[in-house]
Amino acid sequence: MSERLDRLGLVFVALLAVAAILVPILSLATPAGSALNIPPYLVQLFGKYLCYAILAVALDLVWGYCGILSLGHGAFFALGGYAMGMYLMRQIGARGVYANPILPDFMVFLNWKELPVAWWGFNWFPYAMLMVVLVPGLLALAFGWFAFRSRVTGVYLSIITQAMTFALFKEFFRNDFGFGGNNGLTDFKDLLGFSLQSASTKAALFSASAIALILAYWVARKIIGSKYGKALMAVRDAESRMRFLGYRVENYKLFAFVVSAVMAGIAGALYVPQVGIINPSEFAPANSIEAAIWVAVGGRGTLVGAAIGAIAVNFAKTYFTGAFPEYWLYGLGLLFVLTTLFLPKGLLGLALTARDKKPVVETPAIAVEEGADL
């Protein structure tokens, strides 16, 4: 299955690369209204899906390969998004409603006189990008260090990460916290001098997202293919045994967790300029759980499947929330239930096993250890 997955991964990367080149061409170089033309709103929509796909790959790295069901990835995603949002906010400059060259509108509105320290430097793009990586990464490092060291595993870890997300969710709602409160950050004008409204910027952001997805996939693939990755999977399957063999299990987990959080942060940073807003609802615990279902639908431990799952579920979401808003939550709820019950390996796993002559069985070690856990 592994080689087939690798081959599938190559196809996936190739498709993404083609999309990264072709979509901007079709969007910009063809006349509007022609059969080949992709209108900017669609480019933006698919760019958004690609960001979700990066998040799904990040989550699959820790869940599919390390057994950590993090319900905090939505928070890492949102933190990356906020870092980007802060840069975009500073770029508005004097073009805001209150025309204050330094302070974003919401600070003027709150009658603040000075830029808070947390905002310093965000007018400088490289610094903002550093923060996109550093903030989620450091949070994951601190959080994971404590959690893995004390051997918090399984559902306990999920619950603790969810509590972290929930705490951030509430904190960002506060005006005093200094990140726009309830309304979040919005009314962005341009990124690196390019207007966010123009079709070419949208196309460029789409390509950037596609390339970022390729990179995320490539990094995850490299990690998993390495000796380190083998140990990671061994931790997933038999954590105690690995510990008894002398591996520092917590370090393996921590590395994967931090890398994954950074990926999620980058996904968030690419997401924000495409949707034009970042607000505290991105921290909602429900978002993190939804990301887990993308991975589950596509196929846990396949990376490609996670990305496909993210795109497929979000495509369905866009369609159903438009066509039958009443029924979307039923659909999403059923998706959770049915996927876990009947598609434990996800769509991709199903497709791969169906074509395999002999079905792939899970390593018995999992069952033994989890049985003992109870």
């Binding site: 869940w63 057994g67 069901l69 959080f143 404590f146 959690a147 060291r149 004390s150 051997r151 918090v152 595993t153 399984g154 559902v155 306990y156 999920s158 619950i159 603790i160 969810q162 509590a163 972290m164 929930f166 705490a167 509430k170 904190e171 709602f173 506060r174 954590e239 105690s240 615990p285 759980i289 887990a292 279902i293 589950a296 009443e326 939550l329 039923y330 999403l332 709820g333 059923l334 998706l335 959770f336 239930v337 996927t339 876990t340 019950l341 434990p344 999992i366 069952a367 989890e370 049985g371 003992a372 856990d373 109870l374």
Partner: protein
């Protein structure tokens, strides 16, 4: 009637009747005699109005206040408003009601024509005499509750004019509660008056110190600004510090009460979760929706019950909520969770899906708007306990939480089902080897845990709006309680709920609600460094990960 009671059981009916009759007659005679005596005094008093002289009128006012006949208040008010009339020829004093009817002040009869009457004249001296007298009238009211209310009025207004009446009443007061209120009122007047003797001031400080609330603190502050006397100053200052500590203690007690209240809600919401998590090792993300279903069950009961039974709504709501939530819980366990038995993480996702479906289902059935569940009469209102303000509904929720906790402990400790459940919690495979049907226990434990969540919903419906996402607000805190308390023992859950609830309420005023939660989260993360499986972890090889 006590005469009847004293008589022999064998007395013939006729004799008994006669005895009753004679006692009733005696009672009537007594009443009439007393009435006559009072009427005479009243006649004399009212006659003073007939002269229409200021000095006589003032005297009459004083007598009315002292005698306090039932019509005194009406007469005095009428006098103050120029509505008191007299007919010198026929010796009748009457007053005009605000509605315009003319009432004989003595007999209370309505008088048809006002032609013969003149108004009793009043001047400022009389007006102020009336004001003082009306206050003292209520101070002398036969009902002790009214006397206390009047004394409290004086305490608030600090009306120096009320002092003589106050002191007069205090001298003859027999009810200790009323006397206490009167003394307080007197102290308030002493404290706020400019020219009071040092002795009175010191006495006032003592009394105010004993009262020890915000009002007393303000009064002593006032007094300290007026006085230069070192004795009063030092007494006042020491009283102030004593009041400060007292207030701080009551404040802490109030925070503790809020914390207890929050803890009871947390406990109700978390205890079912601890059971299902303990027995099956799976997190039921739809647990919050069981709470929500319980709240909606209460709402439905309120809708369906006829008005005559509304007071008993909770007696219907609690069993119904338990049943509904338990049935839904069993359905979730039978249809979903048992197939995911070795995959706890996926159980989390599947039950999250169930929670989405249940929320949307309730939204479709009842609408997305908040529903209001009214408290039954015995659960509404509040009362004071020392410096504490205690809302009745929260008190009952604490009682409910204790009852549920004790009930669950009994089920776990004293029933075969409880024994088997504990066995499965401790070591599932060993329990199965001993012949316990673990599948059955799973199902029943899930029913129990969900049912208790339903009861939590009944409690929440009394203090919170009932909405489809009611459960979401409590679920994460409940998880924290379980993570903190561990699953080995319900005492862990209780202790976890108490700790988190009280810590939250103590932190809230200091650093704000959200920061408080964040601090608690960090504390929990640090805590599980030391105790990864919570306060009350199961010991033994089976739980080693």
């Amino acid at each position: 009637m006590w005469i009847v009671g004293q008589m022999d059981r064998g007395t013939p009916v006729g004799v008994r009747c006669r005895a009753v009759l004679s006692s009733v007659l005696a009672l009537l005679a007594c009443l009439l005699f007393a009435g006559a005596a009072r009427a005479d005094a009243l006649d004399d008093t009212l006659a003073k109005f007939l002269d229409d002289k200021f000095s006589r009128t003032e005297k009459a006012i004083g007598e009315l206040a002292a005698e306090a006949p039932p019509q005194a208040a009406a007469v005095l008010e009428a006098l103050g408003d120029n509505r008191l009339l007299f007919d010198q020829a026929d010796h009748i004093v009457a007053y005009k009601t605000t509605a315009g009817a003319i009432i004989n002040a003595k007999t209370g009869e309505t008088i048809a024509s006002a032609a013969a009457f003149k108004k009793v004249r009043v001047n400022n001296a009389i007006r102020s005499a009336i004001e003082g007298s009306i206050g003292s009238l209520t101070l002398a009211n036969p009902d002790p509750q009214k006397r206390i209310a009047a004394a409290e009025d004086v305490f608030k207004t600090r009306e120096a004019k009320a002092l003589p009446a106050l002191q007069a009443q205090l001298a003859k007061e027999s009810d200790p509660q009323v006397a206490e209120a009167l003394r307080l009122a007197q102290a308030a007047i002493f404290a706020s008056n400019d020219n009071t003797s040092t002795k009175d001031r010191l006495a006032a400080i003592d009394i105010l110190k004993a009262r020890g609330d915000q009002d007393a603190q303000n009064l002593i502050d006032q007094l300290l600004q007026k006085t230069t006397d070192p004795a009063v100053k030092s007494a006042g200052e020491s009283a102030l510090t004593s009041i400060h500590t007292r207030l701080a203690m009551w404040g802490a007690a109030q925070d503790l009460w809020y914390g207890l209240s929050a803890s009871s809600v947390l406990l109700l919401a978390a205890i079912g979760l601890a059971i299902t998590f303990g027995v099956m090792g799976v997190i039921n993300m739809a647990h919050g929706e069981m709470v929500m279903l319980g709240a909606y069950a209460t709402y439905v009961v309120q809708l369906l019950l006829p008005p005559s039974l509304q007071n008993w709504s909770l007696a219907f709501a609690i069993p119904l909520a338990f049943l509904v939530a338990a049935l839904v819980g069993v359905a979730i366990e039978r249809l979903i969770i048992r197939f995911l038995y070795t995959r706890p993480l996926e159980t989390l996702l599947a039950t999250w899906g169930v929670s989405l479906i249940l929320q949307q289902l309730v939204r479709s059935l009842f609408g997305a708007n908040n529903k209001l569940v009214t408290n039954p009469p015995f659960m509404s209102g509040a009362f004071h306990l020392g410096g504490l303000e205690i809302t009745t509904n929260r008190l009952w929720i604490i009682v409910l939480a204790i009852v549920v906790f004790v009930g669950l402990q009994l089920v776990l400790r004293a029933t075969p089902f409880g024994l088997q459940m504990r066995a499965v919690t401790q070591n599932r495979r060993m329990a199965a080897a001993m012949g316990i049907s673990t599948a059955r226990i799973d199902m029943l434990a899930f029913a129990l845990g969900s049912g208790v969540a339903g009861i939590a919903g009944v409690a929440l419906s009394q203090i919170d709006n009932v909405s489809p996402n009611l459960g979401q607000g409590y679920i994460i805190d409940s998880f924290m309680v379980v993570v903190f308390g561990g699953v080995g023992n319900l005492w862990g859950t209780a202790l976890g709920a108490l700790t988190l609830g009280i810590a939250n309420k103590i932190l809230e005023p200091v650093i704000g609600a959200i920061q408080g939660q964040i601090v608690l989260l960090i504390v929990i993360i640090l805590f599980i460094q030391k105790r990864p499986r919570g306060l009350f972890a199961l010991k033994g090889r089976a739980v080693e990960a």
